[in-house]
Amino acid sequence: MAAVRRVVLDILKPHKPNALEFARVLAEQGPGYRVSVTVEGVDARTESIVVVVHGEDIDFDAIEAAIRDIGGALQSIDEVEVVGGGT
């Protein structure tokens, strides 16, 4: 089965939780996940951020649910890196 190794996500989120807490929550969704967050724009109530998640086998559904749970709205999936499991 193909494994998702990297995803780049465009997200709109409220100011709270901040980027650090946001990254921490996403990183807790799976073992060995590495998450980086870049704030692209700040509005009066919201922030546009780009999130990059690295992992051996990323559970995208869990990531998406976690984003929703902490108040984020997934705008687009900008990049993905998937490794095929076939022989």
């Binding site: 409220p14 939780p17 807490e21 109530r45 919201t46 749970d69 902490i70 709205a73």
Partner: protein, 195 residues
């Protein structure tokens, strides 16, 4: 259990519950202390009043303040949080009903209301301690009402010191300011009682 605690902390941070709760604690605690100081001074001025009457009147005031703190804070904070959530949803152009923000807006009013109600009740109980001690027959260095008035001044001084620490200013300055307010209150009650 640890996960639940972390989750509660996350929701509290999200909604700034600690700041809001602290503000209510000090405000309502101060209300509670002054509301006890008033009747204590009134009874002191009146002279010969049964200790049981004083205790019942002060407990009544404390309980009423506690209930008022819980109910008024719950109603006002719930409305405030609901509006804040709606504003945030408008800015996000998305529903946040399933998010931590919605959960925080439901739990925050309850948590803050409990703090808001507990503050005047606890403060009242502290001020009433000398009266209970006297009623139980414990020896006091002062007369019961004088001791209760002194306890009220002490609690108000401590609340002021706490405020000073929060504000990052010199704690003694703030403590003295609140103490002056209490003294003025006591003097007004004393003056009215002696007219």
């Amino acid at each position: 259990m640890r996960a639940l605690w972390r989750r509660m902390q996350f929701l509290a941070a999200l909604s700034q519950a600690q700041h809001i709760g602290r503000r209510y604690f000090v405000t309502n605690g101060f209300d509670g202390a002054l509301a006890q100081l008033g009747p204590c001074m009134g009874f002191f001025v009146s002279g010969d009043v049964r200790l049981g009457t004083v205790i019942n009147a002060c407990i009544g005031a404390g309980v009423a303040l506690g209930v008022s703190g819980v109910s008024s804070t719950d109603v006002s904070e719930a409305a405030e949080r609901r509006r804040e959530l709606q504003d945030l949803e408008a800015a996000m152009v998305a529903s946040l009903e399933a998010s931590a923000h919605a959960r925080a807006s439901r739990y925050l009013p309850v948590m803050v209301a409990l703090v808001s109600g507990a503050a005047p009740l606890l403060v009242s109980l502290c001020i009433l301690l000398p009266l209970w001690a006297a009623a139980a027959g414990l020896p006091l260095p002062l007369r019961p009402l004088e001791a209760a008035i002194l306890a009220a001044f002490a609690v108000i001084f401590l609340l002021g010191a706490f405020l000073g620490r929060i504000a990052g200013t010199f704690w003694l300055w703030m403590a003295l300011r609140t103490l002056v307010i209490a003294l003025v209150t006591a003097l007004v009650v004393f003056w009215v009682g002696h007219r």
